[in-house]
Structure formats: structure tokens, C-alpha cells
């Protein structure tokens, strides 16, 4: 009970954690080829849906960077029976959220809605997926908005660093080498017909999976789908394998000049690994130790010990094809060189020394015990399931997750570090005030300093602009 034996000098003892129970997930196909994945959850009168199509920015040539996102953005700009304002107004009146977007490997339409409004919401969702008309004048406006977003982001140091990082890693011929927004050059060249043909190739039931989570039973769902998606047919185009990144860039320090910048945005990384890697679990634990949480090594060193930054972290961005490993922070300009040295040392140290037991256990527990939190909302569950579908993983993946994470030992982490954190193959990108940082970076002995031209990046979400600290 703990009440009678209260002792402030010790961590309170706890009972064993309750295990997370996963419901049976229904997985079936409709007669038009559409795969449906359903997880019923009745806690609140909500339903969340994601209609996900294979293929995003990596399904078109790199020279058309921005096309997948632009196509997704155009879906709700008008259909054969509703104009854009009618779509937006109807969705708002339903109290629903209907959005469409594209990533590198998939395009998706999401609907989140109160259960009682589901039929009306599905009707609009089906309409924008089946009958968009891509009006020329809306295309012109949307493309212009996106071009100006490129311009706007070109003044943001974090975006400058992100863009330079992926472009240097992948080059301009690989779809992962540009932001999802595209560049001003590629966007300028896109025409309405590009959108139409990308739409027809990707947005077909044969390429799609509908993930549904919430307060709805299969029979009710099926009859709603039959009504709203009646007559939807087609296979679309199958995807081709992605090219490999064209030759690794020369290791070294790449500087994007931002005169007068208040900080330096630092990125360290290389082209690492895809999501189907057999080393998924060791890599996930490894990254948790290095930069996945507040008490990871990078943040404790660069923030809590040195005070160089507001926060430092790292991630393996695992995709259908190998995505980047990236360690990142915004650091004070005068300590840019010291921060870069600390990044390199902390990354490299994981290949040289075993992670101590206490630290390893903390990382494993962080991942394993936090699992219920990652399934809290219906939107969370939809995202988890849609990811499994995208990477062709079993839907029961998370039933084995805890055991698999807890099975990762220090040797496995060390081997993963030796293989997947090769400091000698990494590049370092710094977006900051060149005249303040260039000479000290050059004296770090981490390769030549190359000055890059500025680039632009994809749009951030626009939400509540007020700032809590």
C-alpha cells in the first residue's frame, strides 16, 4: 500500500505493470480490391479513418519533387458535385476533420469524426477520393501558395539545415533528396496534368488500405462503405523499386550561410536503413540511448551538462528504402565547433564501449512500458496500424513488441552501433553565421568545410501560434 511505510529517500515500490491487451484486428478485402483493417474501440463516440495509398513522393521522379503533396492538397479543391467551399463547410458542420497529405512512401486521406456523423463524413471522403476535378484556377493558386511557402521556409535556419542535409545525402536524382514540398524549380515545372496522372496512378482501390479505429462494428462499417464508395474501381499502377542513393557524399562539414543567425542548426548523419531491417529492435534501443528521449546521451551532454542548446536528439528515419539517420540540435553560435565535436564523440562512443546495464534497462523500459500511451487515442491507433500496412508488417506486430525490446542486450546494441553509426561516413551540416563558425569548424579535423548555397524546405503545420514555454 505504501502509505504506512512512506520513505522519501527511496523510489516507491510498485506493483507489476498491467499488460496491454490488443483486441482482435479485422483485416479483409472488399470486392473492389480495397483492403480494410478495423480495430473496434468504444471508449468515446469517435471514429478515425485513414485511407492510405501505396506511393508518395518516391512514386514520381525526383524532378517532379512536390507533386505527391500537391496532388494530395488538391483533392478537396473541388469535385464533380461539390466545390471547395461546400466541401470545407460540410466537413466543419459535421465537426469533422478531413485532411489529405503525402509522405515519401504513401499518400493518405484522414477523417476523424463523431460516430453519429460517420455516414455524412464518409460521403465527403469518398467524393474527394473518387471525383476530384482539379480545377485549373485552384491548381494555379495552390501551386503559388506552395511556391511562397518554399520562399518563406528558405529564411528559416532549421529548414535550411534540413534541406541541405537531405540534398547532400541523396543528391537531386533521388526522391528522398528533396523536401516533400519540393523546390521552387520543380514546383514551377508542374502542370495540372501532372496532378491528374499522379492521381490516377495512386488513388485507386487496388493501391489502398482503409484503416478504421473507433466506435463502429464491421457490419455497420461495411454497409456505410458500400453506400459511400459505390462504383469505386481500379487497380492503379504498381510501384517500381526505388533507386539507391547515388553514391555517398564526401564526409565533411557542409555550411549553409545565414549571416547574423542567432544560433547554428546542426545535423549529423548518413543514409542508414529501411524499415524492414532485421535490426529494427537493436536500432530502436540504440537510438533511445543516444538521442530518443530527454535523458538520452546527446541531450544530457549538450543541454544539461554544457548548456549549448535547448534540446538535442537523434532518429533513424526508417522508410521503404533506406532513410537518413540524423542527430540534430540548434546550438549557440560561439560553441558550434564544441557542439559538433560532442555530437561526433557521443555517436562514436557507442561503437567503442558497451552501454552500462542501468542505462540500457532504462532505454528498454522506456520503449516497452510506454506502449499503452502510444495507443491512447483513436488517431494514434490509426497511425500505428497504417504504418504496419505501409511497411507490409504483420498487424500483430505490437503483441510481440515488449518481448522483443526487452530481449535486446548490450552486445546487440554494440553491434548495431558498429554497423549503423559509422562516424567516418557521416556528413555534418551547419546552417548558421559562416563568418563566425567556419574557421573553428575547419580546425576540428572532421574533414573539409564546404559552403553550400541556401535551399528551401517543406511546410510546418500551422496551429495555435501562442507560445507556452
Amino acid at each position: 500500500m505504501g502509505v504506512d511505510t512512506l520513505d522519501r529517500s527511496r523510489v516507491p515500490g510498485v506493483a507489476a505493470p498491467s499488460e496491454m491487451k490488443f483486441p482482435e484486428i479485422q483485416d479483409y478485402r472488399l470486392q473492389n480490391g480495397l483492403r480494410v483493417v478495423l480495430w473496434e474501440r468504444t471508449a468515446l463516440p469517435l471514429v478515425s479513418l485513414q485511407l492510405q495509398f501505396r506511393g508518395g513522393a518516391s512514386a514520381h521522379p525526383a524532378q517532379k519533387a512536390g507533386l505527391a503533396a500537391l496532388t494530395a492538397d488538391m483533392l478537396d479543391e473541388g469535385t464533380s458535385t461539390r466545390n471547395a467551399l461546400e466541401i470545407a463547410g460540410t466537413v466543419d458542420l459535421l465537426g469533422a476533420t478531413l485532411t489529405s497529405s503525402a509522405g515519401y512512401d504513401a499518400s493518405q486521406v484522414r477523417l476523424s469524426i463523431l460516430r453519429d456523423k460517420l455516414a455524412d463524413g464518409l460521403a465527403v471522403m469518398a467524393d474527394i477520393v473518387m471525383h476530384p476535378t482539379f480545377p485549373e484556377s485552384e491548381f494555379t493558386r495552390v501551386r503559388k501558395e506552395r511556391l511562397d511557402r518554399v520562399l518563406q521556409r528558405s529564411a528559416e535556419p532549421a529548414a535550411m539545415a534540413d534541406d541541405a542535409f537531405v540534398r547532400t545525402l541523396y543528391g537531386t536524382d533521388h526522391p528522398y533528396g528533396a523536401s516533400l514540398l519540393g523546390t521552387s524549380e520543380t514546383l514551377e515545372d508542374l502542370v495540372r496534368e501532372d496532378v491528374e496522372s499522379f492521381f490516377h496512378a495512386r488513388y485507386a482501390p487496388g493501391q489502398a488500405t482503409l484503416v478504421v479505429v473507433g466506435d463502429i462494428e464491421r457490419a455497420a462499417l461495411d454497409s456505410l462503405l458500400a453506400a459511400s464508395f459505390a462504383g469505386w474501381q481500379g487497380h492503379g499502377e504498381d510501384l517500381h523499386a526505388l533507386p539507391m542513393a547515388s553514391g555517398a557524399p564526401a564526409p565533411g562539414i557542409y555550411v549553409v550561410d545565414k549571416p547574423g543567425a542567432a544560433q547554428s542548426e546542426v545535423r549529423v548523419g548518413y543514409v542508414a536503413v529501411d524499415r524492414k531491417t532485421p535490426d529494427y529492435y537493436p536500432l530502436t534501443v540504440l537510438n533511445t540511448v543516444l538521442g530518443g528521449t530527454f535523458t538520452s546521451r546527446l541531450n544530457l551532454k549538450l543541454r544539461e551538462e554544457k548548456g549549448y542548446t535547448y534540446g538535442a536528439g537523434s532518429a533513424f528515419d526508417m522508410r521503404v528504402a533506406p532513410g537518413p539517420f540524423e542527430a540534430a540540435a540548434a546550438v549557440a553560435t560561439p560553441v558550434t565547433d564544441s557542439a559538433v565535436a560532442d555530437f561526433v564523440e557521443e555517436i562514436d562512443r557507442l561503437s567503442r564501449e558497451d552501454v552500462p546495464n542501468e542505462e540500457l534497462e532504462r532505454a528498454r523500459n522506456f520503449l516497452a512500458l510506454r506502449l499503452p500511451q502510444r495507443f491512447e487515442s483513436v488517431d494514434d491507433v490509426v497511425r500505428r496500424l497504417a504504418e504496419l500496412v505501409l511497411y507490409d508488417l504483420p498487424l500483430g506486430f505490437y503483441s510481440d513488441y515488449v518481448t522483443a525490446v526487452q530481449g535486446v542486450d548490450a552486445g546487440a546494441v554494440r553491434r548495431a552501433a558498429e554497423r549503423y553509426l559509422p562516424v567516418s561516413r557521416m556528413i555534418i551540416v551547419v546552417a548558421g553565421d559562416r563568418k563566425e563558425v567556419e574557421s573553428s569548424l575547419a580546425s576540428l579535423d572532421l574533414g573539409p568545410v564546404v559552403v553550400l548555397g541556401p535551399v528551401a524546405t517543406p511546410g510546418a503545420s500551422e496551429s495555435n501560434p501562442s507560445r507556452e514555454e
Binding site: 505493470p17 458542420l93 520562399l151 542567432a262 544560433q263
Partner: protein
């Protein structure tokens, strides 16, 4: 009765700590959430930004918890945690697997009761640098990054507690001492100035006993001193006041600040609905007319600051295209704001519907549920306002929205901040 029925019970310990318990065993997770009735509005002159710096210091350890241990223990337990500072309050929160509830109670009670003995100069210096880097990253190194500092100076008069922003001044932070940390703690971080909410999967009786055990022995504290400066102010700015920045921004942007009723009165709900008619979603007036039909703006944003003291603030902004004339953007924004004087019932219905689903969705997470219950208890002594929030919005009539527009959205209540691309050096 609205569609919301979040259960809760209220309790008060002898030392004045208010406790809200909201039981829901749906998922094996529990949220512990603390709101302290102190924010940047309580800062003395010369100490702006201190409430926020203090929040950082609360993670630097307490008598029984060494530096970094707080984060380590929660992460090791599979939890997540953070804290935020705002004008009127500071909140601290953890979400954990439900068997770890007592860990959070131990950690939160230790820093509520025994934070000061663990403080030292090195920790203060370290976190001061962290906060300076936070300001550089989120304000100084962002285009338009100083907008809220400038806007608050125009909307709120000299000596008003909202005249300065939460991040405050770096010079003031430099002046902060360990004595400031100790006295701020003794004044504001007392049980009688705090609300503790536990939400999610837990045993209510046992939890109440645990809360009493961990928090009950902490001394209650003196009444909170009155706010510094002059909290009362006229409902309107009284004129159109202006500020213009020519600088390193890629596109022109016009930002309008308006005094609105404070969050503590019913008039705020009217302002919130009016704001939503104006700016929420693609069917809103600003998006429809300025972005889509007239194509004078690339994007529009609105936000109603829910502030307690004297007046809240309605924020409205529009970003132009390259070469847009700022005076045309301003005229377009002003025209739509004044035009709300003909708001229709359809528009009001749409605005309320959007807000309603947003609220229901936010309640899916125990952490957000706990946060809202803490807020309503701290601000209104009534966590039950969470369940009636929708009803208050639904009660707003088109006439009230039109009246709000006529009274508040005119040229006599406008702070206009303009950013123009150009050379600032």
C-alpha cells in the same frame, strides 16, 4: 446536459492543496497533473522571464531526487513528462503506466516540499544558458520571431502584467540569483496555490490516501501577493496603434492585436466563437475571402489568448505574397473583422461544431483530461466546467457575435504590427 460526462471528485487537504480525481480505467495509464497559480504576470519588474526559468529549475532535482533523476525515473517507468509556463499559471505533468502512480506523487511532492535545498549556482547557470538557447531557437532565429513581444507592448499598457511575454528579457534572467529562486519558491510554490489532478486508471480511495501521505505534510503557505503593476485596464485600446519592422522576413505579414474580454468572464466565449467564424478552417471568412477569393493573403491565422487579468487578446494575422502591399493586407483584415457585424447563424453553428469535436478528441488522452480539470479547478474552482464548456459555446447567439464585432473589432481597438521584407542592417 452536453455530450461530455467526465467524472471527477474534488478534495482539499488541510494545507490547502486542491485535489481532483477523475477515474477512467479504459487504458492502463494514469496522468498526474499539477497547476501552480503563478506565471509571468506575477513577475516583479526587473525579473521578467523568471517564472519560466524557475520552471526549468524544478527539473534540477530536489532534496531526495538528484539532478536528471526525475526525468530518468519517469522515462524508465515508461512515462512521459513535461511542464509549461504561461502568463497566468505554470503546469507540470506526467503520464505513466498505472502501476507507477506513486512514483509521480513522490517526485511531485518532493519538489513541492523540498526543492530549494537541492539548488546551486551551477544548476542555475546551466539552465539560464538552456533558456537563452530556447529563446534564440524559438524567437531570435525565426522570421517574425519577436511578434508577440511587440504585440503585447502595444495591446497592454505600461505596468500591466501582460505587457511582457513569458520568455521575458535575457538581461533580467542574467540578474536572477539563487535567492530569487528560493523566495519565488516560498511565495508561489505552496500547496495552497496549487491544484493536483490524477486522471485515468487508479483506485480512488487508495489514491486519495497516497496523496494525503505524500503531500499532506508540506506547509500550506501564505496568501499570494497581489499582482505587480496595474492589472486593470480599459476594455479598448482606444486607437489604432502601429509598429513596423523592416527586416529579414521572406514575405510581408500584418498582425492585428485586439483587446477582448478576459477568460474569466462569459464574454470570452463570444469572442472565441467570433474568432472561429473569422478564422477556423477553410470555410472561415478570412480564409474564404482573403486566401481563396481575393487572393491577397497566402495564409491567415487567428487565436484568442485565454488570459485572466483585465483583458484577453485576439490575434489575427495574414501573410501576403511577394510584393503585396501591407496597407492592402491590413485593410482586408480590418474589413473582415468589422464585417463580422453581419455574422449569420449558419456561421455560428459551424464554428461551434468544429470546437465541439476538438474538445471531445482532446479528452481521449488522460494527460489532456487532467490538464483541463486542473485548469478549471484553479481558474474557476469548478472542474465541472469541462463538462459544460460546450454548452457555453452553444449558448452564444449570432446577435452576441455581431455585438462583439461592433464593440470590439473597430479601429479604436487595434494594434497593427507590420513586417516588411527588407534590409535591416
Amino acid at each position: 446536459m452536453g455530450i461530455l460526462d467526465v467524472p471527477f471528485t474534488r478534495h482539499r487537504l488541510d494545507n490547502g492543496l486542491r485535489v481532483v480525481l477523475s477515474h477512467d480505467p479504459t487504458a492502463p495509464v494514469v496522468a498526474v497533473n499539477l497547476w501552480y497559480g503563478v506565471g509571468s504576470r506575477n513577475e516583479a519588474p526587473g525579473r521578467t522571464g523568471f517564472a519560466h526559468l524557475f520552471e526549468h529549475m524544478m527539473f534540477q532535482g530536489s532534496l531526495h531526487v538528484p539532478k536528471n533523476r526525475h526525468f530518468e525515473l519517469v522515462e524508465r517507468a515508461g512515462g512521459s513528462l513535461n511542464a509549461t509556463t504561461w502568463y497566468d499559471r505554470t503546469n507540470y505533468f506526467e503520464t505513466l503506466p498505472s502501476n507507477q502512480l506513486e512514483l509521480a506523487l513522490w517526485l511531485e511532492s518532493d519538489r513541492m516540499g523540498w526543492m530549494v535545498p537541492a539548488m546551486d549556482q551551477e544548476k542555475l547557470d546551466n539552465q539560464r544558458e538552456v533558456v537563452k538557447n530556447e529563446k534564440r531557437q524559438r524567437y531570435d532565429n525565426q522570421p517574425y520571431g519577436d511578434w508577440d513581444e511587440r504585440l503585447h507592448r502595444m495591446v497592454y499598457p505600461e505596468r500591466h502584467p501582460y505587457r511582457h511575454t513569458v520568455i521575458g528579457s535575457m538581461e533580467d534572467l542574467d540578474a536572477a540569483t539563487l535567492d530569487d529562486v528560493a523566495s519565488f519558491f516560498a511565495t508561489y510554490y505552496v500547496p495552497s496555490n496549487a491544484v493536483l489532478t490524477v486522471a485515468g486508471d487508479f483506485d480512488p480511495d487508495r489514491t486519495l490516501r497516497l496523496v494525503e501521505a505524500w503531500f499532506g505534510e508540506i506547509p500550506g503557505g501564505d496568501p499570494i501577493p497581489p499582482l505587480p503593476g496595474e492589472p486593470s485596464l480599459p476594455p479598448l485600446i482606444g486607437d489604432t496603434v502601429r509598429d513596423e519592422v523592416v527586416g529579414d522576413v521572406p514575405l510581408p505579414r500584418v498582425i492585428v492585436g485586439t483587446r477582448i474580454p478576459p477568460y474569466s468572464v462569459d464574454g470570452f466565449a463570444v469572442a472565441e466563437v467570433a474568432r472561429s467564424v473569422l478564422g477556423t478552417g477553410r470555410a472561415s471568412r478570412l480564409y474564404r475571402r482573403l486566401v481563396r477569393e481575393r487572393r491577397v493573403a497566402k495564409d491567415v491565422t487567428t487565436y484568442a489568448f485565454p488570459l485572466l487579468t483585465g483583458a484577453g487578446m485576439l490575434l489575427t494575422w495574414a501573410t501576403g505574397y511577394p510584393g503585396s502591399k501591407p496597407e492592402e493586407l491590413e485593410a482586408a483584415l480590418a474589413g473582415e473583422m468589422e464585417g463580422l457585424a453581419d455574422a449569420t447563424s449558419d456561421e455560428v453553428e459551424r464554428a461551434v461544431a468544429v470546437t465541439e469535436t476538438d474538445l471531445v478528441r482532446s479528452l481521449e488522452r488522460v494527460g489532456e483530461r487532467a490538464d483541463l480539470l486542473s485548469m478549471f479547478e484553479l481558474y474557476f474552482n469548478d472542474p465541472g466546467r469541462l463538462n459544460t464548456e460546450i454548452d457555453r459555446l452553444r449558448a452564444v447567439t449570432p446577435e452576441q457575435v455581431r455585438g462583439f464585432a461592433a464593440e470590439r473589432l473597430g479601429a479604436d481597438n487595434r494594434a497593427v504590427l507590420t513586417y516588411i521584407p527588407g534590409d535591416d542592417r
